[in-house]
């Protein structure tokens, strides 16, 4: 275990707190559509210019090359200052597409894309799930046909959050239909403005139209720019992406949730609810212990399957916290209504046990890859 210079972290915390106080946008973040894109890019640009973007990304691509401990401090101050939620259109680029490029991309891909993500010039979305391929991701059917130095894509993706306002997509396509399920897949960078791409937003039960269906009709990509991690090696690249998505991507959200539990505890004057809130505080403390140690341990590489333990724990705790908030404040409370109220959080929290692999898939990963139990027969 490495040592952490507490005095230096305290000074860093003070700088973060001071900058956030002076720079947090006054307006609430729009939840979807072009307004959401403008807001997210503007806020990202402001963080980048202030030196607060890509804290643990390499310096050569615009990052700050700081420690995970400093990243944690930044997220703690970010949440305490009620800065715009990190669960935004910037999430994919910053938390799993960017890290995947750092881990598996070519120098040209890193040099071109990573600075754009950090400086608020590009939004990324994910193109993994298909109508027939959800939990069973390896059954995906969208094809990538190689014609010389071009990749021609046909098919359909779904649950591609913010695809309607994104610039690029991390896209999985089947490049070798004859190969075994996991062997013929390629991870590609797909610009969303190419001819042949159609995006249909889907409204969620929480309100926004952030999920999208994406159709590809003869979309042509230059092969060299597009492929990340090698042709037909996309499953391995996708596992890196999912490792980030399930492992460290939600760290800021986890820290925010932990702080929200403290707010509920402060607001709770009902003796009948107090034991429940006390239980949630204990759960939040456990989440904090797990997520901090996992993030610190993942400092030097791609997170391992143990991330599923935290992903599952966080997802189910997020539901319990929003449920308790509804009981605590009551349906008529202003704390429930609005784009960022607890009613939205409650409904939106349902996606936490589905996105990035359902809770059942996380349990399978824990059973098979963490505990070493025999694989399920399929």
């Amino acid at each position: 275990m490495s040592t952490i210079d507490i005095a230096s972290l305290d000074a860093f915390r003070e700088r973060a707190r001071s900058w956030l106080k002076a720079n947090i946008p006054a307006a609430e973040a729009p939840l979807d559509g072009p307004e959401s894109r403008d807001f997210v890019l503007d806020w990202q640009k402001r963080q980048f210019e202030g030196g607060w973007a890509g804290l643990i990304w390499p310096a050569e691509y615009g990052g700050r090359a700081l420690s995970v401990a400093e990243q944690i401090v930044w997220f703690e101050e970010y949440a305490a200052a009620h800065a715009p939620s990190t669960h935004s259109a910037a999430f994919v680029g910053l938390n799993h597409a960017g890290p995947t490029l750092i881990a598996c991309g070519t120098e040209e891909q890193k040099a071109f894309h990573l600075p754009k993500i950090l400086s608020g010039e590009a939004i990324w979305c994910q193109g993994f799930s298909e109508p027939g391929s959800g939990s069973d991701l390896a059954s995906l059917r969208t094809t990538g046909r190689i014609e010389g130095d071009t990749l021609v894509i046909d098919g359909q993706k779904i649950w591609s959050s913010y695809a309607d306002i994104a610039d690029y997509q991390e896209l999985l396509v089947r490049t070798d239909p004859q190969a075994a399920r996991h062997a013929g897949i390629t991870w590609v960078i797909c610009p969303m403005n190419l001819p042949g791409i159609t995006v249909r937003p889907i409204r969620t039960m929480a309100g926004p139209t952030k999920y999208c269906e994406v159709f590809y009709d003869g979309v042509r990509l230059p092969l060299a720019d597009a492929v990340v991690g090698g042709i037909n090696n996309g499953w391995k690249t996708a596992m890196a992406t999912l490792g980030f998505e399930r492992g460290t991507a939600s760290l800021a959200l986890q820290i925010s949730l932990i702080q929200k539990v403290e707010t509920l505890a402060r607001d709770c004057a009902d003796p009948m609810l107090a034991p429940r809130i006390a239980d949630l505080r204990a759960d939040a403390a456990a989440l904090k212990a797990m997520s901090y140690s996992f993030a610190l341990a993942s400092e030097k590489g791609t997170p391992g399957p143990e991330g599923s333990l935290i992903r599952l724990y966080f997802a189910e705790l997020a539901k319990r916290v929003s449920e308790a908030a509804i009981d605590l404040y009551g349906i008529g409370s202003p704390k429930l209504t609005g784009d960022h109220g607890w009613a939205f959080e409650y409904l939106d929290a349902f996606s936490e046990t589905i996105a990035g692999g359902t809770a059942e898939i996380q349990r399978n990963i824990i059973g098979e890859r963490v505990l070493g139990l025999p694989r399920t027969r399929q």
Partner: protein, 308 residues
């Protein structure tokens, strides 16, 4: 194992099925979250179903059967308060549609945008407010029912119905919630069962995985338990039974909705999949009458005070 209706109840339910069929109720259009059907509300009122509990030879249980059946529809009407709560009062005293609220008369209430009467549980008195629709402000809500609140009670006709009516009101309020939840849970569960039978992943139906089967089996046990508790409470119309049924319902909703949505994947989180027509309404009940912990306290108080 199921409820066997008597001849009266069979006649009521058969007639209700015909009425529902004649209305050709369709699943609301994609994207709609407020599912109040004025046509259903009006038809139930004019056809006399809403007055069943007032008629000789008919019981609260008969009314409960109607409420449970209507709750299974993807649309709603103000049925529960009219059939379960309003008959506590002499005919003509409390006009329907009826809304209920605890604490302040200005608190948001289900159905208030359509209501003619509002009953307010003030804690030490039961207040009747004659509602002027022009004085109702709609309240934003993601919970499917129409919500509204009064801008003030100044100038509105109000009358005390007496503190003695508070206990009966709460009893029937709890009962109504339990009965309505029974219908909502049944339809929600059927929707999900259909999905997991037809949706294939890893080359087989989702419903063939034990992880899915086990949780849906528990969801089914919950739906059955709610149904039986609700009908038992309607049969006895006893305070303790009603409080226990409401406790069970409010304590079950969270896990029940989680299990059901979980197995519909991302599709189940959209307004394009019909599950939300029932689960939105279930979620609306979570906080009513102070939530499950308050009903549990009421049930405990009733049990222990009876034993003392």
């Amino acid at each position: 194992m199921d409820f066997e209706p008597n001849d009266n109840q069979t006649a009521i339910l058969d007639g209700l099925e015909q009425l529902i069929t004649s209305l050709r109720i369709e699943t609301p259009k994609e994207g709609e979250t407020q599912v109040f059907s004025e046509a259903l509300d009006a038809e139930l009122a004019t056809s006399g179903y809403l007055d069943i509990a007032r008629e000789e030879d008919f019981t609260v249980l008969d009314a409960a059967l109607v409420v449970e059946r209507i709750a299974r529809l993807p649309v709603t009407a103000e049925v529960t308060n009219s059939m379960i709560v309003a008959p506590l009062f002499p005919a003509g005293e409390v006009d329907r549609p009826l809304a209920l609220v605890q604490g302040s008369p200005l608190a948001p209430a289900r159905f208030l945008p359509h209501a003619k009467s509002l009953l307010v549980d003030r804690g030490d008195d039961l207040l009747l407010v004659k509602v002027d629709p022009a004085r109702v402000e709609p309240v934003e809500s993601l919970f499917a029912y129409p919500y509204g609140k009064l801008d003030s009670v100044d100038g509105l006709e109000t009358r005390s119905l007496g503190a003695a009516m508070l206990a009966p009101l709460r009893r029937r309020w709890r009962l109504g919630m339990a009965v309505e939840a029974a219908g909502l849970m049944q339809s929600a569960l059927e929707t999900v069962l259909e999905h997991v039978k037809s949706r294939h992943q890893f080359g087989r139906p989702l419903g063939s995985f034990q992880a899915v089967q086990h949780r849906l089996a528990m969801a089914s046990a919950t739906a059955h338990a709610v149904r039986w508790l609700a009908f038992r409470a309607a049969w006895s119309d006893a305070e303790e039974d009603c409080a226990i049924a409401a406790t069970y319902v409010q304590d079950s909703i969270v896990t029940f909705c989680y299990d059901l949505h979980q197995f519909c994947g991302a599709m189940g989180l959209t307004l394009e999949f019909p599950l939300h027509f029932w689960t939105y309404r279930l979620k609306a009940m979570l906080g009513e009458l102070g939530g499950g912990s308050k009903q549990a306290r009421a049930a405990s108080t009733l049990t222990w005070s009876a034993a003392a």
